[in-house]
């Protein structure tokens, strides 16, 4: 390795002779006085002009480029050829990188054979940070000073790098957080630039933080961006600070679960785990993600935000759920855990449940959790996750929902098996659906009779009405495609169909002279004729629509 040091002159005029350690000054007393070699120490006209002009031309809120322009281009240009630069500003780039007079120390990679590390004869003596550094993909950048060890074996000079001509071995200044067991220090030989926290870079460094954001963009050709993390790569891929995420607001850091990391930006966050990769969450979806409990509750994102095929929804897939944002403004929602699984089984927002219209809620009876969708609902109750949707859902709600006649669903809506209808079982009854009859519900004795008589596959077909009270405070009844069922708790329920219904209704039905049926009509071929008994009489069916009544 070629050492960057040059043997220092030991001439008396260059050597400080006063040892000030007794008053707390630990600068190396043997370090040469740089006044004869420091390119800035004599305060020549050109150097003063560099300082004044570059200070005035730059602002406190400059972009990286303008900052570089200020310190490097202007400074260098003026230092090297002030009159030319003033008279011919277009030639400023011709003076680029001549920065020996900007007052800062060169980077180690410039003078240490490309190595971004303290060269021999120096030690890690202190550090500071500059925030929001492009070199660190928006995170903090750490500048670590390498001060010469005592006795100093180098002297002040320009580093001479083609694009980092800053000084070396000139500034006898110490930040002081590292190797505090070493009191004596020589000038700063060079600076290490890293995105690694200094106490990990060198364990002798303490965590005491010093900040100087004016050095955030100091660079050299031998320094490159440290943007190797998946999060920073994702950030870059999304446009960095110019993208929709904007500037860094909280640098990359671990999440307490030990699995992942995240970084925050003006417009959103990026999350990463080794198993999921790095993905962003932003805007209203991020707000909802936080509300839903973040990574603990719904897991890490497994994809970037996407747009639904119909253009209405923005959504983010998570390990245990999905975030939805409605661009029409209805809201932002999370479908999580078993609700997400069920919803996905039913083709998600393109299935018959439709899109979410609310987040998961707890039921009033404290038995279940449920989530509403545009055309249905999912319940998680007693260990089962069941859906209810469409006309069945509407009917169920009309009868008081889970707190009403039918109670909680015992299963999903299922096919009857006849190629026509569907049925869903509830704790308190069943609801059938067919295109001809829509959704109708049965319960109690009427349901029992309907099932006993073959249900939709029997003579009655599908119900045309739901079971409902007769109005006398005693019985219930329902109509079907081919008949009726009437019932009471005391008598049970029976089917009345065909011509018998017409006659029965002409006699006032259950509240008329005959009262409630007490049997079904005898089946065809019954010896002695086909009869159906009622509370107050008997009807006989003679075929061809003929019915007679026997008291």
């Amino acid at each position: 390795m070629t050492l960057p040091f040059r043997p220092r002159s030991r001439s008396g005029s260059n050597t400080a002779t006063v040892d000030l350690v007794d008053v707390g000054v630990h600068r190396d007393p043997s370090s040469p006085n740089p006044s004869s070699t420091d390119p800035i120490a004599d305060g020549s006209f050109a150097q003063r002009l560099v300082h004044r002009v570059s200070t005035r031309l730059g602002g406190s809120n400059t972009s990286r480029r303008s900052f570089l322009t200020r310190t490097a281009v202007i400074g260098s240009a003026l230092a090297v050829g002030p009159i030319d630069f003033i008279m011919k500003p277009n030639s400023a780039y011709g003076y680029l990188c001549g920065t020996c007079t900007d007052g800062w120390t060169a980077f180690c990679c410039t003078i240490n054979n490309g190595a971004n590390a303290c060269p021999p004869g120096s030690f890690v003596a202190g550090w500071w940070k500059a925030d929001n550094a492009a070199y660190c993909c928006g995170s903090a950048r750490y500048i670590i000073d390498c001060n010469a060890t005592c006795p100093t074996q180098c002297s002040c000079r320009c580093a001479g790098g083609s694009c980092d001509g800053r000084r070396t071995c000139c500034a006898q200044f110490r930040y002081g957080q590292c190797h505090t067991e070493i009191a004596c220090y020589g000038p700063v030989v060079c600076r290490v630039a890293t995105c690694t926290v200094p106490w990990k870079y060198d364990p002798s460094c303490t965590t005491t933080s010093r900040t100087d954001n004016r050095t955030v963009d100091h660079g050299a050709p031998c320094l490159s961006k440290e943007c190797g993390t998946p999060i920073s790569q994702k950030y870059d891929a999304l446009g960095g600070a110019r993208g929709f995420l904007g500037r860094v607001t909280a640098t990359e850091r671990e999440i307490r679960d030990g699995r992942g990391r995240f970084a925050s930006y003006q417009g959103g966050n990026i999350y990463w785990t080794a198993t999921t990769g790095a993905y962003e969450v932003h805007g209203g979806l991020l707000t909802e993600y936080r509300r839903a409990g973040g990574v603990e509750a719904v897991g890490y994102p497994i994809a970037d935000t996407r747009t639904s095929g119909n253009g209405r929804w923005r959504y983010t897939n998570l390990e245990r759920g999905r975030l939805y944002y409605d661009r029409r403004g209805t809201g932002t929602f999370t479908i999580v855990g078993p609700f997400f699984t069920k919803h996905e089984q039913l083709q998600g927002i393109y299935g018959f449940l439709g899109y979410p219209v609310a987040n998961v809620r707890r039921s009033g009876d404290n038995r279940s959790d449920y989530q509403n969708f545009s055309t249905g609902r999912i319940y998680s109750v007693d260990g089962r996750v069941v859906e209810i949707h469409g006309g069945v859902y509407a009917l169920h709600e009309a009868y008081g929902g889970v707190h009403g006649t039918y109670g909680y669903p015992l299963g999903d809506l299922d096919l009857v098996g006849d190629g026509i209808g569907k049925v869903q079982q509830f704790e308190g009854g069943r609801i059938w659906y067919s295109p001809r009859t829509n959704a109708r519900g049965l319960y109690g004795k009427v349901l029992d009779r309907y099932l006993a008589n073959g249900g939709p596959g029997g003579h009655l077909g599908y119900p045309r009405s739901s079971a409902r009270p007769v109005g006398d405070g005693i019985g219930t009844w329902a109509t079907f495609e081919r008949g009726h069922i009437y019932g009471t708790n005391a008598l049970g329920a029976f089917q009345v169909h065909g011509s018998m219904v017409t006659y029965y209704l002409s006699r006032g039905g259950p509240t008329g002279a005959l009262g409630y049926p007490t049997s079904d009509l005898d089946p065809p071929g019954t010896v002695g004729g086909r009869f159906q008994t009622f509370q107050n009489g008997t009807l006989q069916y003679h075929g061809y629509g003929t019915v007679t009544e026997t008291p």
Binding site: I40, S60, G103, F173, E181, A183, R253
Partner: protein, 181 residues
């Protein structure tokens, strides 16, 4: 950034500045700031705590830094005075008191005891600046007081004016008291 409290004393010539266990009486024409930057922390995994906050990385610890000067201090300053030193004139002097963590107490670098109040011209050098600027000179004294570790960094706007500027810095440092934590 936590800020200091200041009050004008009865004689209206001295401003008392007090914060974070650092107290000083600033003579007329001086101004000062005592502040602590926010420390980044490991954020909650339960998102919601990850709003825009201090930059840097978890683990960094911030300690008080006092900037005292006989000139208007710019709002944006590096901890060792960058930004402020850029606007100093020949008549200006800047004193920085920067605290370090307790792990530094008792180490060789911080072995000197007490606030330095005996600054002399031979302690200053143009090469002892954080960033070399024409005519300026600086001096660093690492010390421990009240079981707290500090660096006193003093910058003279013009080294040749040390005879006039140093007494001002001396007076300010002599009027500075640091309490134990």
């Amino acid at each position: 950034m936590a800020a200091a409290t200041a009050q004008i004393r009865d004689d209206e010539t001295v401003m008392k500045l007090q914060s974070h266990g650092i107290e000083t009486d600033l003579p007329a024409g001086w101004e000062g700031r005592i502040s602590v930057r926010s420390s980044p922390t490991l954020l909650e995994s339960r998102i919601g705590a990850d709003q825009a906050g201090p930059v840097g990385n978890p683990g960094e610890t911030a300690w008080p830094v006092a900037h005292l000067g006989n000139f208007p201090l710019p709002e944006r300053r590096g901890d060792f005075g960058s930004g402020a030193v850029d606007v100093m004139t020949d008549q200006d002097v800047l004193v920085v008191l920067a605290e370090y963590g307790p792990e530094c107490v008792g180490t060789a670098l911080f072995a000197h005891r007490g606030i330095p109040t005996n600054l002399t011209p031979n302690m200053f050098g143009a090469n002892a600046l954080q960033r070399a600027l024409p005519d300026q000179a600086g001096c660093q004294v690492f010390f421990t007081v009240a079981n707290r570790a500090f660096c006193c960094y003093t910058v003279l706007g013009r080294q040749s004016n040390a005879a006039r500027l140093l007494p001002q810095a001396q007076a300010t440092l002599s009027a500075t008291r640091i309490q134990p934590r």
